[in-house]
């Protein structure tokens, strides 16, 4: 019993210790992202990596989600018909599915690659070499990734919103036989600014979470390629969980009655 309590206390202490470590890491990352020297071409490179190369996966998830919402809601509530379906598609995509699915996809793609890159640099002493060349890894490696993540995720979500709503449109007109003009009109009237903005804010926060988690786990990777693999897994899992947690918190803040 005492043994159980002790190991429980131990893991609790470890838990809070790592929260503190992540907190300090985050503060340092933010501080160095906001202070010169900046590396514009590194930021640009990361923006292309995070934004442009994520477009295919994000577009694919968005179009299928839009289609599936339209299908599900047509079988779900047959009463409201056309207007209700356009409404559910717009709300569902802009408020939730756009940001969350794009976030989760990018977490898998970018969170993993950031952790692997920085982790490899850690275990092969490249980060040590950076420091001996008077270059702060927080400014040179972590800053550009975090900045690019916070800028590119909202842009990706705008794309996801548009493509998702198009997915709903395709099902509504081709499969359910709705009138395209009136469906588009219904889509416009369903569009609400606050829902769209909440999705964009969520996206920026998700971009921050994903890049910070990737960088954190990579930065503290140890023990060769196995350690890098571990860091990659931890980065994706922790980014995904935090992303869903913050999605809930932000929803509660935005739509509190």
């Amino acid at each position: 019993m005492i043994l159980l309590m002790r190991s429980l206390g131990h893991s609790l202490v470890n838990f809070f210790a790592s929260i503190g470590k992540i907190g300090i890491f985050t503060l340092r990352a933010v501080f160095h992202s906001c202070n010169p020297p900046f590396y514009p071409n590194l930021i640009l490179k990361q923006m292309i990596e995070i934004g442009f190369y994520s477009l295919p996966v994000v577009a694919l998830t968005a179009i299928f989600s839009g289609m599936v919402i339209a299908l599900q809601s047509s079988s779900g509530f047959s009463l409201g018909g056309e207007k209700a379906i356009a409404n559910v598609v717009v709300w569902g995509i802009t408020r939730e599915l756009g940001p969350v699915l794009a976030g989760l996809m990018v977490a898998g793609r970018i969170g993993a690659s950031i952790a692997a890159e920085i982790g490899t640099m850690r275990v092969s002493e490249q980060i040590d070499a950076l420091e001996t060349l008077s270059t702060n890894p927080f400014k040179f490696l972590i800053g550009p990734r975090v900045i690019a993540g916070v800028i590119m995720l909202p842009l990706l979500v705008i794309v996801a919103d548009i493509i998702g709503i198009m997915g709903g449109f395709i099902i509504a007109t081709f499969d359910l036989g709705f009138n395209p003009d009136s469906y588009i009109r219904n889509t416009w009237t369903s569009f609400e600014f606050i829902g769209f903005i909440s999705g964009i804010v969520k996206a920026a926060v998700f971009g921050f979470i994903i890049t910070i988690m990737g960088a954190y786990h990579g930065y503290y990777a140890k023990g060769g390629s196995q350690g890098v693999g571990q860091a990659t897994t931890n980065a994706v899992v922790s980014a995904s969980i935090l992303l869903l947690l913050f999605n809930f918190i932000l929803t509660a803040i935005f739509f509190a009655q």
């Binding site: 490899t120 002493e125 040590d128 070499a129 001996t132």
Partner: protein, 260 residues
């Protein structure tokens, strides 16, 4: 002005470092003069790399004093430490080349970051240094993974000396190289020390190379320096540890791992 009294560049006093309950450095004392070239030798895993990393500031000693140019380094803030690091040129044991950058970008990294050279000048200088380490200019746009181990080592050396630093740190610069390339590297180290007037600390397993590049030698064993002296005396030393190390005989009475 030349002063008669030699200046002390690096001074370690009672420096200790453990990892968990494994004591790696145990009250180490070492004084290195300005312009001196010292070699640190010792068996594998005795803490030579840890010692170098403590001097560069990558490993934080548990206790003791470490002065560089008379300044206590443990008192420096992170920012001051970064500025301080412009004095060092480091060749890491594993090379530690930036694998996302090309060869010339690796070599010119310090020139662009520390000396603020523009891209064109930095590349010219990098290619000039490449010829000094006998690397063909045609590989300047390759990536480190495309080069052989020996070539990577030469790139790492080029990167270490590119900014003409005051203190050169070489962790096993010739390990794994053929005798000809080893000699080229040895000569380069000698030249860097003589021409730049730099202070050099090298770790090496190769006694022939140690005798060439170093004025003084310190032998690390079980957390202590068991012998220190001029490089040309090393083979005539009566010290058991030194004799065994030089002749490649294992110290059975003191080595814990009894590999026979």
């Amino acid at each position: 002005m030349n002063t008669i009294r030699p200046e002390i560049k690096i001074c370690l006093r009672n420096l200790s470092k453990s990892f968990g309950n494994k004591i790696v450095l145990d009250n180490i004392n070492l004084t290195i003069q300005k312009g001196e070239s010292i070699a640190i030798i010792g068996g594998s895993g005795t803490g030579k790399s840890v010692l170098l990393k403590s001097i560069i500031g990558l490993v934080k000693p548990d206790s003791g004093s470490l002065r560089i140019d008379g300044k206590e380094t443990s008192m420096l803030t992170h920012k001051e430490r970064m500025l301080f690091n412009t004095r060092f040129g480091v060749l890491f044991q594993g090379g530690a080349l930036f694998d996302s950058l090309t060869i010339w970008e690796n070599i010119a990294f310090g020139l662009m970051q520390e000396k603020k050279l523009n891209k064109k000048n930095a590349k010219e200088k990098a290619i000039q240094i490449m010829s000094e380490v006998e690397l063909d200019a045609s590989v300047s746009n390759s990536y480190p993974s495309e080069l052989s181990g020996g070539m990577q080592k030469r790139v790492a050396l080029a990167r270490a000396i590119a900014t003409e630093p005051e203190i050169l740190i070489f962790d096993e610069p010739t390990t794994g190289l053929d005798p000809v390339t080893s000699n080229v590297i040895n000569d380069l180290i000698i030249k860097s020390v003589n021409v730049l007037g730099a202070t050099a600390i090298s770790v090496s397993h190769d006694i022939a190379s140690v005798k060439k590049i170093a004025d003084n030698v310190a032998l690390l064993h079980e957390g202590h320096f068991v012998w220190q002296g001029p490089a040309d005396k090393i083979e005539k030393s009566q010290n058991d540890y030194v004799r065994n190390f030089v002749n490649g005989v294992s110290n059975n009475q003191s080595l814990p791992s009894g590999r026979s």
